[in-house]
Amino acid sequence: MSDWHPKIVVFLCQWSLKSDSEWARRFHQPDGVRVIEVPCSGRVNPLLLLSTVQHGADGILVVGCQPEHCHYKEGNYVGRRKFATLKSFLQYVGLEERRVQFAWLGETDRGRLRALVDGLLQDVRELGPMQELAVRGVLPNTVCAL
């Protein structure tokens, strides 16, 4: 158990970074944190989030811009509804609530990104490694259990 380190993936809207000067473009990613920059949070396909979980992420954070601050005007609005329904769904099938988080950064949120990432790391540490939604991999060549 002590060998385990949390692995989280952050889908980060490139424009929301502008609100947070603590993290420069090419920032040093803390251990266990993989950051994927996206042009807009609205671009994040929920299947991508599902796939991320299946590939071994213990936690996910999606960061976009606050309402009315989307560089593409409405991307974050579209994103919000998608993520709300996805999160509700994932919880329903047994995923712990704190593993998948969404945040909206605004002009006044300097330094908040760091706090969000640290917060998720802490939550995931408490929850332990992701067990739900199965482990990737094929069963050995036996009759498939039905």
Binding site: L139, P140, N141, V143, C144, A145, L146
Partner: protein, 339 residues
């Protein structure tokens, strides 16, 4: 060689088999009965004639790893799937499902090409069949040259004669299983009971269909509007092919990453629109009409020519489970009837 075994001794027999063999039998999990590996004789479901998923998956698993790969020492290391080493028994397989296996043998085990995965499992498996005393209303093996007590392809065949089973060994493998002391010599009454049970079962089943006529008519009907009626309601869901004991199409995919992964074989179905979709975008079977037609023609016209066997064994699973009640028996009746 024929012996009898009292039903109360069957659990002991199975327990004995479990010591030396991996045993697959019909088991019930959440109301669905299919062939699975059993751990104890209590796992066996005795009440179900036709399992939901056919036993073909014991030889041709729905998802099978062909080999794994891994980046190593600047190259790619391949690791083959382990061959099955332990002897296996499939217990409680029905004559129709065995007949279907015989068709699959002609696909996977030919002089020109032997599928090592299938052949390995087939060679390591003893088939213990059970006759069907009370065929279901959806059974029609007799329409297509089969029967509820057909023994072809089996190693050991059991007939339920009330308090006991008549056990007939048909091969050396089957004979090997009859060594235990609870196997007794059958009496004349036992043999008579077996015969009566068989006659009663046959009386419940339909008459043979003239499959020659069916084939001829199918070959003439390529452009017939007959296909429009069925395909109008067919969902293209593929349930018929997944549950069919004969169907054997597969798709091969590589899954993983550049660093490591597996080459996998999955069941596929000719009923999906992407099945014959070519890279150019052309699809020789663009609509349900062509796909439904192809399924029936493959089973009733092409396979008799290419494999010398019909592609349908009358198990009735597609009839039971088609979501829109497309019934191949209706098609056979319409085609088999004289013009």
């Amino acid at each position: 060689m024929k012996k009898t075994i009292a039903k109360r001794d069957v659990a002991r027999f199975l327990a004995r088999l479990l010591e030396d063999y991996t045993v697959y039998a019909p088991t019930r999990v959440a109301e669905i009965v299919s062939f699975r590996q059993i751990g104890s004789p209590n796992d066996v479901d005795w009440d179900t004639l036709v399992t939901r998923k056919p036993p073909k998956e014991v030889f041709f698993p729905q998802t099978e790893v062909l080999f794994s790969y891994e980046q190593a020492d600047g190259g790619l290391a391949l690791r083959s799937t382990e061959a099955v080493e332990t002897e296996r028994i499939v217990w409680g397989i029905r004559p129709c499902d065995v007949r279907a296996l015989l068709v699959q043998d002609r696909v996977f085990d030919t002089p020109d090409a032997r599928d090592v995965y299938f052949v390995n499992k087939r060679e390591k498996t003893t088939l213990v069949g059970i006759g069907c005393n009370k065929p279901l209303a959806t059974c029609f093996c007799t329409s297509l040259g089969g029967g509820p007590f057909e023994k072809q392809g089996l190693d050991l065949f059991l007939t339920d004669i009330g308090d006991s089973y008549l056990a007939e060994a048909l091969t050396g493998r089957g004979k090997k299983l009859l060594g235990e002391d609870y196997f007794k010599k059958p009496t004349k009454a036992d043999l008579k009971a077996a015969q009566e049970v068989e006659e009663a079962a046959l009386a419940r089943l339909p008459q043979p269909v003239d499959t020659e006529t069916v084939k001829q008519r199918l070959d003439e009907m390529i452009d017939s509007p007959f296909w429009d009626e069925i395909q109008a309601v067919c969902l293209g869901c593929g349930v018929c092919t997944f549950l069919c004991p004969v169907c054997h199409c597969f798709d091969i995919v590589d899954e993983g990453s550049a660093a490591c992964g597996q080459r996998i074989r999955n069941w596929d179905t000719c009923q999906y629109c992407v099945y014959t979709l070519e890279a150019s975008g052309h699809n020789p079977r663009p609509s349900g009409r062509e796909r439904v037609r192809q399924r029936l023609m493959h089973k009733l016209s092409y396979q008799p020519v290419t494999q010398g066997r019909l592609g349908c064994v009358g198990c009735g699973r597609c009839v039971q489970l088609c979501p829109v009640n497309i019934d191949i028996r209706q098609t056979l009746a319409e085609l088999g009837a004289s013009a």
